[in-house]
């Protein structure tokens, strides 16, 4: 009887300790998101169905998304995510697009009417221009996300393979 009481007491004590600990070690935010975000290619292309790389990272950290939703990251990206998150490596989900070489957007300046729609769409502010004036893409900053293509009313934006780094 006494033993049982003691045991109950012990359990209560343990519970109390844990409660204290959980208060002491409460985690604000999730630093894991940063780790995931660092792996993602930062094209901000939204092909993963999240509005950008960070939202996707958040979804991954919360276990809401699969690791194969990022086509620009390619197979190597999936592998890196799998390693970080301790998940199995799975092939890219083609629903989100296929992995391809990095591209650049180029505006055909003769056709551009200066509507600024692409400027608003660009997630990394890589398009310069003002209303009614010709726009141009800063090649160094363009991530090749293709988000500027649909808003363009005159289809003057073309994607070309990026020259990439010279070996």
């Amino acid at each position: 009887m006494i033993a049982a009481l003691c045991f109950a007491l012990l359990c209560a004590l343990a519970g109390f300790l844990l409660w204290m600990a959980s208060r002491r070690f409460a985690v604000k935010g999730n630093p894991l998101v940063d780790e995931i975000d660092a792996i993602l290619p930062q094209t901000q292309c939204a092909q993963c169905n999240y509005p950008g790389c960070r939202p996707y990272a958040e979804a991954l950290a919360n276990g809401e998304a699969e690791i194969n939703q990022c086509p620009p990251g390619g197979e190597s990206g999936v592998r890196a995510l799998a390693e970080l998150l301790g998940r199995e490596v799975i092939p890219l989900n083609v629903e989100h697009g296929e992995a391809k070489v990095p591209h650049l957007a180029i505006i055909d300046e003769a056709v551009c009417i200066g509507c600024t729609k692409c400027i608003q769409a660009c997630p990394v502010d890589a398009i310069l221009g003002a209303a009614k004036l010709m726009h141009t893409v800063i090649a160094d900053e363009c991530t090749g996300c293709e988000l500027c293509l649909p808003p363009c009313p005159v289809d003057c934006i073309e994607m070309v393979p990026a020259t990439g780094v010279q070996p």
Binding site: P41, Q42, C53
Partner: protein
Amino acid sequence: MKETSVFSGGVRLEPNKVATQLPTPQLPPQPLYAVPLNTRGGQFAEPRVQVGDAVLGGQLIAGARSKVGAHSPVSGLVKSVQTENNKACIVIEADGLQQKIPARPPVHPASVSIDDLREAGLTGMGGAGFPTADKLQAAGLNKPKMLLINAVECEPLISCDAQLIAEDAKTILFGADWLRQFSGAYHCQIVLEDHSVDSHKILTTALSDSDFDAISISTVPTRYPAGSERQLVHAITGTALLPGERPLDKGVLVQNIGTVHALGHWAQDGTPLTKRLVTVAGNACPTPQTLWCPIGTPVAALVEYVGATEKNVDLFQGGPVMGQPLSDATAAVSKHMQCLRIEIEAKKPEAIACIRCGDCAEACPEHLLPQQLHWQLQGDNLPGAQAERLPDCILCGCCDLVCPSLIPLSKQFAAGKSALRLRQHTELRAAKAKTRFDARELRLEEKERERQERMKKRKAGTAKTDKQKAVAEAMARARAKRAEKAGTSKGDKDE
């Protein structure tokens, strides 16, 4: 002869040089020349001529000011301009007249700028092909004390430097002293391998006939890769360069002797770099020789000239150790092609597994552990390879030479290095994109917040008292009316 200490590692190779012959053979004129526009280091010279333009020999056809210039080797017409990534070139159709741009009087080092040298089209002619002007620009910031003229052709077969010394030691010495003055170095050493006795003799004689007091000649032992910049500096100064350290950090500027010769020429009469010596050799080459070739000469012309008639040969650019296969026979002579090897396809013995014997580590002049790099790269472990100092690999190929299992190590390391660079490049871009995305998000958020605040204020304003409310409503109505009017006239501009 001055004795020097040796660098660590390396391999003893039979020099096996192609004999020099005077006068230097000249390649007969060709109908077409394809002048390459890419230099090593990812630079691309913008074309300055259009199809159909007539050009003179030595005329600038691409680049200049910020990019290394390219010049037409002959007079003729521009036949085509190709700007595609890998094969960017300008094709000149020779008119056979051999007209040249007029010569100019010699220039003094003090009156020349870095951009002038860039326009002269000078690049490292020892195989690396790094733009000379860029190196000198860096040297300008580092104030080198010593100028090393690299005439150490440590790879077997290649004999451009020996041929050059035999033919034109005077211009070499002129160029060396000119460059010494330009770079501000106190002293200039021309370094040879100790087996090249003839070159040493010629240079000594030429030097004693001249009045260049600041130039001396020294030798290093014949040991591959003594001609590599880092190893050369180690051998001459007696201390090894630390990983990541450049010769300039030690106050040493290293230039290839071919580059110095070309520079001397340019300083004397304004002739830009339009031709170079190329050693043509290999087991399918009946008459190995070193000959003058205009930059842009099709490689096929060289093969024909030396009388190599064998079919099914492999062409390599560079020496037997570091040489790279030429992907197609339409390739042209570039500024950094020292050697063209014509080899009968040899059946390569198959590589077997690495037994980690460590022979490669003994041979590595950079104190790397190729067996560990091999293992890391085999497992696609780029960070691991980086931790084993893959970026410090100079791709000299010593490990290939000694590997008892015949593993093509340096090939793997070259691929690993470029994969690592690509990865770093991607990471850098991602970081940049991220900051820009974050900044944009912040800006949009701020805008949204401001808008909300305005709305709130407006709402709060309207909710203050009944009286004020009534007034506000009246004002709002008035504003709406005005807006309606304006809307019809102005269109949908305002949002």
